[in-house]
C-alpha cells in the first residue's frame, strides 16, 4: 500500500472504533441514569430486589457507568475507556455469579437472563477494546511514525494578522526575525540577497545548522525557500500572504516540509515534535501574530518564558517569580 492508502485504511478503522465506542458510551449513559434514578426498578428486573446490599451497589454501578459514558463520549482515546468497561463487566459478572448462587425460582431466572445479557455486552466490549487498541497502534500520527522511521513530514498552519500584507511580508522576508517567534530556531543570518544560514536550538537535536536559499518569491505575496548543501534535516517552506476579506488584515499560510533522517538526529527531531507536530507550528504563528500586533511575545506568571516554553503544561503557578527564578530563566 502507498503511505496514503495505509493512512486511509487506518482512518476508516479509527472511525469505526470511534462510532462503536460512542455507541457503548450512550449505553453506559442510559444504564447509569436508570441505576441512579430508578434503582428499585433496576433491582427488581435483575432479580436482586431482595438484597439490602444491592440497594447500595446498584447506584454505585450507575455512577461507574456514568464515568464510562463520560470517557467514551468525550474522549477520542476510546481504547483506554473501552477497557475500563471490560473491567466493569468482569466486576458485574462476579457479583451476578455470587447472586445466582444464593437464589432460586423467579429471581434466579431473572438473574440468569441479566447475566446472559451482560455476557453478550462483555463480548462486544472486549471486541471493541481489542480493535480500539489495534487502531491506536496502526493509526499513530503518520507524521510522528514517519519521523521515527525517517521520511518526509509536512506541516501546515495559518493565522490572520491585523496588518497589511506588505508589512507582514517584510517582517518575514527579514529572515533574522524568524527566531523571535519560531520556537526551534536560534538564529537565522542572511548571507546574501537570497541565501541565509540557519541554526536550531538544542531540543531540535544537537547543533543543527544548515544553509538555505529563497527559490521563489513575489513581493508582498509569497516566499519559498529550501535548505541547500548537506543539511542534517533537509527542509523547505512556503509562506503566502493573502489579504483577508476585512480589507485590513493578512492571512498567513505556511507549509513546512522536513525530510527527517533515520538515526540519532531523526530521533531527536521526532522527540522534539512529539505527539502533535502541528501544534508547534500553530504556536509559532500565534507568536508571529503577537509580535506583529503587540510588539512581543506575551508572558504570564504561569507561562513566563515566551517562545522558550516547550510545552504549555505543566506550568509554574500563576504567582510572581522570585528574582532567582527570573535570573535562572527558562531552564529553572
Amino acid at each position: 500500500m502507498t503511505r496514503l492508502a495505509v493512512r486511509e485504511a487506518a482512518d476508516a478503522r479509527q472511525e469505526e472504533v470511534q462510532r462503536r465506542g460512542r455507541g457503548l458510551g450512550w449505553m453506559s449513559l442510559g444504564l447509569g441514569v436508570a441505576q441512579l434514578t430508578v434503582p428499585d426498578t433496576v433491582r427488581r428486573i435483575s432479580g436482586v430486589d431482595d438484597s439490602r446490599a444491592s440497594r447500595a451497589v446498584v447506584p454505585l454501578v450507575g455512577a461507574r457507568e456514568l464515568v464510562h459514558a463520560a470517557g467514551l463520549l468525550t474522549s477520542r482515546r476510546k481504547s483506554a475507556w473501552t477497557w475500563t468497561r471490560v473491567v466493569g463487566d468482569a466486576m458485574d459478572l462476579t457479583s451476578l455469579g455470587m447472586a445466582i448462587a444464593h437464589r432460586r425460582g423467579r429471581r434466579r431466572r431473572r438473574l440468569l437472563g441479566v447475566t446472559g445479557a451482560v455476557l453478550g455486552i462483555t463480548v462486544l466490549d472486549v471486541l471493541t477494546a481489542v480493535q480500539a487498541t489495534r487502531a491506536r497502534e496502526i493509526g499513530a500520527a503518520p507524521a510522528v511514525g514517519g519521523a521515527r522511521k525517517g521520511g518526509p513530514m509536512e506541516l501546515t498552519a495559518t493565522t490572520t494578522v491585523r496588518k497589511p500584507a506588505r508589512e507582514v511580508y517584510a517582517f518575514w522576508r527579514d529572515l533574522g526575525n524568524l527566531p523571535t517567534f519560531m520556537a526551534h530556531l536560534r538564529e537565522v543570518r542572511a548571507t546574501g540577497d537570497r541565501t541565509s544560514h540557519w541554526s536550531a536550538s538544542a531540543p531540535f537535536g544537537t547543533n543543527v545548522e544548515w544553509d538555505a536559499e529563497i527559490i521563489d518569491e513575489a513581493t508582498g505575496e509569497k516566499i519559498t525557500w529550501r535548505s541547500t548543501g548537506n543539511a542534517d534535516v533537509p527542509n523547505a517552506g512556503t509562506v503566502r500572504f493573502v489579504p483577508a476579506p476585512d480589507g485590513v488584515s493578512t492571512e498567513v499560510h505556511v507549509v513546512l516540509t522536513y525530510d527527517i533522517p533515520g538515526g540519532a538526529v531523526g530521533k531527536a527531531v521526532a522527540r522534539y515534535f512529539g505527539e502533535e507536530p502541528h501544534q508547534q507550528l500553530d504556536d509559532d504563528l500565534r507568536r508571529l501574530k503577537q509580535v506583529l500586533e503587540t510588539g512581543e511575545v506575551v508572558r504570564s506568571e504561569g507561562a513566563p518564558w515566551g517562545k522558550r516554553a516547550r510545552k504549555e503544561f505543566p506550568q509554574r503557578p500563576a504567582q510572581p517569580l522570585s528574582d532567582a527564578e527570573l535570573a535562572k530563566g527558562a531552564d529553572a
Binding site: V33, L36, T37, A63, L66, V67, A69, A70, T74, T160, R162, D246, V248, S249, Q279, D282, D283, R286, K289, Q290, E293, T294, G295, E296, V298, R299, S300, E301, G302, A303, P304, A309, E312, F313, Q315, P317, A318, Q319, P320, L321, S322, D323, E325, L326
Partner: protein, 391 residues
C-alpha cells in the same frame, strides 16, 4: 508581598509570595488599594474550572496606584502615580477581536491559547487570577499586581470618587450592565433576572436604567431578594413559589420579554431529585455544570424574546432545552464581559449619580482575612452580598 492563593479544592490561603515584576514592555505594576471577591472566584474554589494550580494568586477585581511602568507604555497613556481601575479581561487593543470591542475574546493576551482552543474551539483572552486556561496570570487579591497591556486596559480615575464607588468598574458593574445591554431593552419590556448576587443586582439596576418597564429578581436568599426589593425590583423566591407560575402571573401570561442568567454553572435547584441527579453527574465529572437557572430562563422567556447569559459556564451541559429555544424563536446572547467597552460610560453614569455601585457592599475586610471573606460570601453568612478586601 501578601496574596490570596488557591490551595486546592475548597481552599484558599493568604501567603507570602514574591513581588510582581515587569515581564513585557507594556506592563505596569499596580499597588492595590482595594480588591474584591467575585462569584466567579467561587467556581474556581469549588473546582468547577480546570487548570487551577496550588499557589495561583486569585482575584480579578482590583484597583490602585501605578508604581512602575514598562518601557513600552507611552507616558500620555499611563504614568507612575496614576490611580487606576483594572478591567478583568486582559486585552491587547490591536487584534481583530479588540478592534470589534470583543475584549474578552482578545486573540493575543492568552499565552495558553492552545489549551483554551482545545477546550472552546477558539482561544479566549487572558484573565487575572482565573486559571491557566485563561493564561495563568497572577491575580489581584494581593498587595501588588502586574498589569499587561497597561496602555489599553486600566481606567484612570481623576475625580475624587472613593475606591468603593469605582472598584466594581473592574468587573461586576460592566458585567451586569452588559447583561442588560445584550437584551436590547424596550420601554415595554419586563426583564427577569436569575440571581440576586452582586452581578444580578447590577443587571437589574442596569435594566431599569436602560428603560425596562418592570424588573424581576429571582433567588432563594431572602436578604438578597430584600436588597433587590429595596432597589425597586420585584422579588421571587424560587424555594417558596413556583417560578414559572409566578412569572406568568406577573406578565399577564406572556412570560418575561427578556431574561438574564446571572447565576451560572453552580445554580441550585428547588426540586431535590433533579438537584441530586446533577450533583452525581458533577461528582463523577460527566457534566461540569448545573444549569438550572439557564434552563428555567429559556423555558420562561416569551416567544421571540432574548435570553442573556452572563453567569459563567465552563464546559458542557445537558438537558439544554433546545426545543424551546428553537421552536419559540428565542435569541441567546452571552459572553465574558467586554469590560473595556463599558468602563468609561459607566464611570460617567456614576459621576452623574445615575447608579450607586456601593449599595452591594456588605463586608470590608483586610486582605489577610480573605479566607473568612470567601467563607461568608460562599455560604451566604452574615447577610453577605459583596466582600471588599483591603491589602
Amino acid at each position: 508581598m501578601r496574596a490570596n492563593t488557591w490551595a486546592g479544592r475548597n481552599k484558599v490561603k493568604v501567603r507570602d509570595v514574591p513581588d510582581p515584576k515587569i515581564l513585557n514592555k507594556r506592563d505596569a505594576i499596580v499597588k492595590i488599594t482595594s480588591t474584591a471577591i467575585c462569584g466567579s472566584d467561587l467556581h474556581l474554589v469549588d473546582g468547577y474550572v480546570p487548570t487551577m494550580q496550588d499557589g495561583d494568586v486569585m482575584g480579578h477585581e482590583f484597583m490602585g496606584e501605578v508604581v512602575e511602568v514598562g518601557s513600552g507604555v507611552p507616558a500620555d497613556k499611563l504614568r507612575v502615580g496614576d490611580r487606576v481601575v483594572v478591567p478583568f479581561p486582559i486585552a491587547c487593543g490591536a487584534c481583530g477581536a479588540c478592534a470589534a470591542e470583543l475584549y474578552s475574546c482578545c486573540e493575543n493576551s492568552n499565552p495558553n491559547a492552545g489549551i483554551a482552543e482545545k477546550m472552546f474551539g477558539h482561544p479566549v483572552a487572558g484573565i487575572f487570577g482565573y486559571s491557566h486556561l485563561t493564561g495563568g496570570f497572577a491575580g489581584g487579591q494581593a498587595q501588588y499586581a502586574r498589569v499587561p497591556f497597561a496602555d489599553v486596559g486600566p481606567l484612570k480615575i481623576e475625580s475624587d470618587l472613593t475606591d468603593e464607588q469605582v472598584l466594581f468598574l473592574s468587573d461586576i458593574l460592566p458585567t451586569g450592565f452588559m447583561g442588560a445591554d445584550l437584551c436590547d431593552i424596550q420601554p415595554t419590556d419586563v426583564v427577569a433576572v436569575w440571581g440576586a448576587g452582586p452581578v444580578g443586582q447590577f443587571a437589574m439596576d442596569s435594566a431599569r436604567m436602560l428603560g425596562a418597564a418592570k424588573v424581576i429578581a429571582i433567588d432563594k436568599e431572602p436578604y438578597r431578594l430584600q436588597m433587590a426589593e429595596r432597589a425597586g425590583h420585584t422579588p421571587i423566591n424560587f424555594e417558596e413559589v413556583d417560578v414559572r407560575s409566578r412569572l406568568l402571573e406577573l406578565t399577564g401570561g406572556r412570560g418575561p420579554d427578556k431574561c438574564i442568567d446571572a447565576v451560572g454553572m453552580e445554580a441550585s435547584h428547588g426540586a431535590a431529585h433533579i438537584h441530586a441527579y446533577d450533583r452525581v453527574k458533577q461528582a463523577v465529572r460527566s457534566e461540569t455544570e448545573r444549569p438550572h437557572a439557564l434552563r428555567q430562563a429559556i423555558l420562561s422567556c416569551r416567544s421571540g424574546g432574548i435570553v442573556s447569559v452572563i453567569g459563567v459556564y465552563g464546559g458542557f451541559l445537558d438537558k439544554f432545552p433546545a426545543g424551546a429555544w428553537m421552536n419559540r424563536a428565542l435569541t441567546l446572547r452571552t459572553g465574558q464581559c467586554h469590560v473595556q467597552r463599558y468602563m468609561k460610560p459607566l464611570l460617567q453614569r456614576i459621576e452623574r449619580g445615575e447608579i450607586d455601585p456601593t449599595r452591594v457592599i456588605t463586608h470590608t475586610l483586610p486582605l489577610d482575612e480573605a479566607e473568612r471573606g470567601f467563607d461568608i460570601f460562599k455560604n451566604k453568612q452574615d447577610h453577605c452580598e459583596k466582600v471588599v478586601l483591603k491589602p
